[in-house]
């Protein structure tokens, strides 16, 4: 009930979730109607404009563009989700350790995170991806996660630091509640909107990075993903040859995905930071 009311009040969040569900269903439902083989090289004649047989035409190597996107979208989402969950998970845990226990552990963790925040992450990812022969979408997700935990750490640490001083944590201590229960029962429930916002934000960041890496040809080459499609687009000069049916659809799907994620972040932000809410 409360959640429903919240969504009702928060149109930004609702619109974002609907957009995101639309993109996800596009991949899920699409795969019921389209054969996997149609996304393989040589499934049709190369570079054909849209027709009844190939709704969005074919690419230079004869892949059906529609099938390619239907099977590529889940791949891209998977990279984003893996990176986001691992990155935010690690960041949140470190943030808790840092904020709750403080002292030397805190100094150490903060120092490492500051160093990571100062180095150019995308550039290092590019170099690492080029050296590591990224084989699978999972691997790419993990690689991105390795450089994507600092945001969640900062948010969590800051929240835990303010919460730790809150009187209700003191009351819990006086009530005989132990550290673990304080973290899980008293702190985490209040952190959920922040963690959710971090997850969505990190997913967007991870998809952005994975698209970029794959578009440079540094991502996995044998699993379909939108990034790979963009790579082929650039590789075969689809722009100059004006094969619009090839490069516009993946861009549109990705733009929808990003707008959806963006609206969810903005909506969650409004829940987490009440001051952004319009005043009564």
């Amino acid at each position: 009930m409360k959640a429903l009311k919240l969504i009702n009040d928060n149109r930004m969040l609702t619109a974002g979730i609907i957009t995101l569900i639309f993109v996800i269903f596009f991949g899920v439902i699409g795969s019921w109607f389209v054969d996997r083989e149609r996304a393989d090289v040589g499934a049709g004649r190369p570079a054909q404009p849209p027709s009844l047989d190939h709704w969005l035409g074919t690419d230079q190597q004869g892949r059906d563009v529609f099938a390619d996107i239907v099977y590529g979208t889940p791949g891209t989402l998977k990279i984003g989700l893996i990176a986001a969950f691992v990155g935010v998970g690690v960041g949140t845990i470190l943030g808790f350790i840092s904020g709750y226990f403080g002292g030397y552990i805190d100094n150490f963790i903060r120092f490492i995170s500051d160093v990571f925040m100062t180095i150019p992450v995308l550039m290092i990812l590019i170099v690492l991806a080029s050296l590591l022969d990224v084989m699978s979408n999972t691997m790419l997700g993990l690689l991105i996660a390795a450089f994507g935990w600092m945001g969640a750490l900062r948010v969590t640490r800051a929240q835990v630091l303010t919460m730790r001083e809150r009187a209700y944590i003191q009351v819990a201590k006086l009530n005989g509640v132990n550290d673990l229960e304080i973290i899980f029962k008293e702190m985490i429930p209040n952190l959920l909107p922040f963690i959710a916002a971090s997850l969505v934000g990190a997913s967007a960041g991870a998809v952005l990075a994975s698209l970029g890496l794959s578009a440079l040809g540094l991502g996995p080459q044998n699993e379909p993903s939108i990034g790979l499609t963009i790579f082929w687009v650039l590789h075969y000069g689809a722009l100059i040859r004006e094969l619009w049916w090839w490069f516009m659809p993946p861009i549109i799907v990705m733009v929808l995905l990003f707008i959806g994620l963006f609206m969810i972040t903005a909506g969650l932000d409004r829940i987490a930071n009440p001051r952004l809410r319009t005043k009564v």
Binding site: M123, L131, L211, L216, L239, I251, R275, L276
Partner: protein, 335 residues
Amino acid sequence: MNAEYVLKRFLLFLAVIVVAVSINFIIPRLRDTNPIKERLYQLAAQGGVNVGKMEEMIEVWEKKFGLDQPLWKQYINYWNDVIRLDFGKTIADFTPVINEIMRSAPWTIGMLSVATVIAFVVGTVFGALLAWPKTGNFVKIFVPFLMTLSAIPYYLLGIVMIYTFAIYWPILPTSGAYGFGVRPEWSIEMVLSVISHAIMPAGSIVLTSIGFWGLGMRGMMITTMGEDYMKFAEYKGLKENRIFLSYGVRNAMLPQVTGLAISLGTILAGSVLVEVIFAYPGLGNLLYTAISSNDYFLMQGIMIFVIVSLGFALFVVDLLYPLIDPRINLQEQQS
């Protein structure tokens, strides 16, 4: 200035350098095979390298990596080279890596800093106006437009722009930093050519980041307007413009300025993708070339150069920050 603050920032800077150099030391050792020898033999097999150069290359490589020496000694030798800015020579045409970097960096810095500053100024002004209750509604109709743009990845926008403005409706050049026929010297023709070539890559960055600055500023401005000093400014009978600028924007700007400094600092790391898509001859493109041709010395050189400059830039920004926010020393003390 607070000594603890300066000391902490300086240690961070040192740590970043150590990390950068160490990463670079590790990178070529991540593979079992010797990548350089591999690559050289590959080139030799294709007849791409003349044998004289190749021998010199192998010599350089052996001296550099000293694989027969113990690891710690290799590490120390590596530091030695880095301190002397000796990043080795490129595989492709055997020029010193540092020269290649110095040739590419100005393009990246020039194009991206202009783009970042434009996006910052426009976005910040927009954001401040959006939060100000007396702004007319005509500004607010831009909000959905801005938000949509800020959600789009800049390189995808770049692709759409190339197709729209260079192919479908060819009014701007597709790639490069200046026209083929133009001589790279100070002339009006050259300047115009540079500008027309920079419009699209810079434009794709400006359009996609205005929203970021705008929304950030809007949030800060809303917070600032709730502050007691804004109310007191009104009780003082100050003019609207002064309250808006000297009291509101001036305070709401502080986090934005940190953001700008970081963005300007990160410029060298640049937008590799934008440079690749627009074939813009900056550092990002150079890195991509190095990756495509397995040129390790070049890759390492770029990485070290970028990380160290970035670390240094952020260090300087941290030192200058107390100038725009007089409270910084105090906050540092409290945190």
